[in-house]
Assembly symmetry: C2
Homo-oligomer: 465 residues x 2
């Protein structure tokens, strides 16, 4: 890890920030609580030099102007739910927390747009959309803690990418503060706008390295009358792919989630997070959780009969459809528990790779074989957003020191055709592997952008690049 530039006089800077923002806006020592030390990866916890908590975009600009002037590195913090170390401080960084810049500012139900401050939790955004009779379809298991600003900065994916795309497709506008304190307002409610470069793209998925997102304008979608959840057991990967294809075609694009689980993961999750209650009578070679959005009862009936036809055709071995929200939550439970199960598996390491679907079974075989050779019979769980070609792997390690060995197994096997991170982002933990998924020319272009927007390298240094 490269060491960040050291500020000439941090104490003087903190005194200036207290004068600018008020004393309660700057926490240091023990006041800068442990939740600011590490993201949900749990890796490399480190206290920041201080936590700065601006209350407005103007205050974020004031903080960055001062940090830029003295070359003080800053780590941007939202809900701390990232899994790539992006929000975990490096030594001597100031943590810039968006926790006090929070709230849904407006909802335009006719236009289908919503404006929110960056520190607003995703679940609050979802609820505000639903109160207006609409949906903000981005959905992740961390919805109660992750913030919409963090979702934008990391281009979060989640369960409904299949139908609605990643966060990038759901963001109409962004307000961001550049490293030098310039506020760039690119907040538009228009669905289409080709008036010059789409500058908001600079702040979507760049993990806070090019600017700090302070406000977002989001695109809402119609709220489906019902979300029908089904759970299916199939024989193998080929059957999963055939089920996915049939479900997409048969629902005319209304399939909103298709989550695959392999038996080792499903069995473990049922045992540890669902009280042992299996959704189907017998074990199967692979499992799929499907969600279909229904406009009316006929859509549910058609989805149910589609599953019936797929059972008769032998593609599905067994399936169950939730009759109400409680049953749906029970079907989702083993999949949703992935994050918390990770905690019980330490030392362990989580991956989120992606590749064309056709490559996936051979890739998984390769990784399992190499992992077994290196780590013996320890668990290597596989599950993920199959409709997006996005596979999550969780490896239980004999020792935390084995992480690099397993990284190499997982990433070397996809070099040339896959991505080392489909949705979690690079942060610090995957930085060394970026070259597996991006060419030298692409990385050169990223560096050009970083140099153009943050010439002193104060914003999230060492993340991504």
């Amino acid at each position: 890890m490269e060491s960040p530039p050291v500020s000439a006089d941090v104490d003087a800077l903190l005194a200036d920030l207290r004068a600018d923002l008020g004393p309660d806006a700057v926490l240091d020592g023990a006041a800068a609580g442990a939740r600011h030390h590490v993201d949900w990866s749990g890796k490399h916890a480190c206290p920041p030099r201080a936590v700065v908590r601006p209350r407005s975009t103007a205050e974020v600009a004031a903080v960055l102007r001062r940090c830029h002037a003295v070359g003080q590195p800053v780590v941007v913090q939202g809900g701390m739910t990232g899994l790539s170390g992006g929000a975990t401080p490096l030594p001597s960084e100031l943590a810039l927390s968006l926790e006090r810049i929070t709230g849904v500012e407006s909802v335009d139900a006719d236009g289908g747009t919503l404006r929110a401050l960056a520190g607003t939790p995703l679940a609050v955004v979802q609820a505000a959309a639903e109160d207006a009779g609409l949906a903000f379809p981005l959905d992740l298991a961390s919805r109660g803690s992750c913030t919409i600003g963090g979702n934008v900065a990391t281009n979060a994916g989640g369960n409904r990418v299949l139908r609605y795309g990643t966060t990038r497709e759901l963001v109409l506008g962004v307000e961001a503060v550049l490293a030098d304190g310039t506020v760039v307002s690119s907040l538009y409610p228009m669905l289409k706008n080709n008036a010059g470069y789409d500058v908001k793209q600079l702040f979507v998925g760049t993990e806070g390295t090019l600017g700090v997102v302070t406000r977002v304008e989001l695109r809402l979608h119609p709220l489906p009358a019902e979300r029908v959840t089904a759970f299916a057991g199939v024989a193998d990967f080929d059957a999963l792919v055939r089920l996915l294809g049939a479900a997409r075609r048969g629902t005319a694009g209304r399939l909103s989630a298709f989550e695959a689980m392999w038996p080792d993961y499903y069995d473990y999750a049922v045992r540890h997070a669902a009280g042992g209650a299996r959704a189907l009578a017998r074990p199967h070679g692979a499992y799929a959780l499907l969600e279909c959005e229904a406009a009316e009862t006929a859509d549910r009936e058609r989805f149910e009969s589609l599953l019936g036809e797929l059972m008769e055709a032998g593609i599905v071995e067994d399936a169950v459809v939730a009759r109400n929200l409680d049953e749906a939550a029970r079907l989702w439970r083993p999949r949703e528990a992935a994050g918390e199960l990770l905690g019980g598996l330490q030392p362990s390491i989580a991956y989120d790779v992606s590749m064309p679907l056709v490559r996936l079974p051979a890739y998984l075989d390769d990784v399992r074989r190499a992992f077994r050779a290196a780590q013996g019979d320890r668990p290597l769980f596989a599950f993920g957003h199959l409709g997006d070609g996005n596979l999550h792997l969780v490896a239980s390690l004999a020792s935390a020191a084995d992480a690099n060995q397993v990284d190499r197994i997982v990433y070397d096997a996809l070099r040339g055709f896959g991505s080392v991170t489909a949705e979690h982002g690079v942060g610090t933990l995957k930085r060394a592997w970026l070259g597996h998924s991006r060419t030298a020319e692409e990385i050169g272009l990223m560096r050009r952008l970083k140099a153009a927007l943050d010439p002193r390298g104060i914003l999230n240094p060492g993340r991504v690049l």
Copy 2:
């Protein structure tokens, strides 16, 4: 218009390019045909100094390396169907035509992706997707002439943005050549990839000012079993908005087009492009063309009964549903003819503004009033992609010299809440109005990007910025 930098010795440069690419790759004088002089706007036709026609990405790189070295400005040309002057040469520019870099390279039917060279016409891409049982849903009236590289460079919109988004949402990867000849390959078939900055965004919608797109990887969608086209007459704008909302909700997201036409445009288009054949018996206050994608017969039936319910509720006054592709084409004809009708209206000028739907009726009233005061009873036609808040206006002018007066009327009325270009892009023709829709900080950021990627300003100079 700022004059572009003048190359030291263009004749020597052309001799070098002939040596590099072969003599038939460089056309000058009369050989550089009139189709290279102006885009479909028809404004400010100008012959380029020469037309250069590379056959490969490597040849594009060779051309740009030489132009970069001597500061020779280049205008990038695809199908020449733009309406903003972006591909129209400025004096002494070389035209870099992608016309020989053409063809669909591969289709992955299982993965739902397609790779094509930049000069491939959109209609060829659509056909290749359909041959594989899938759809590339981008669709514009110029589909036979516009190229996929131009679609990407301008982030084309068109008829199905409502369901599938603009070109940006349909592009998985791009290969582009930077001003200095560096080839950046960012061609990935993955649906999700957060491995570092999404560098392809630099080349989508930046109108060839940051790099020349040479190859694209596209996302395909399931091919609907049927596209059901309907045409409805309603009383007024409010009824259009209610029809749009009801159709979106009632089709559970399967509504793929919603084109509004005001009576002056519709009547003119029927008379001049459809042999006078009106689709409905009586005249109405406004018209809507709807397209709904159907997975099976039940979807068509439900769409038809939805329209019936809306007639009973008084929202729709009259409607007709096409029974076959011929009837659908006849319903589309008045809308599709917009481009060719423009030719018969000279002098005239076309606009494509966008704004939140709720602002649209007052905006249209304001513009009509000011236009009448300035231009009397001349036609001002209104139609557009209402589902996207995107309004097309075509103004017939007393004199071509009135263009600036009418620009001011159309653009001043949306300052602060609308975009001067929803989909056509800025080019040269809307450059003076960019500040109506973008803040000084946004334009500053665009300039930073331009300086970082094209420091000598040789790529499409004077376009956008």
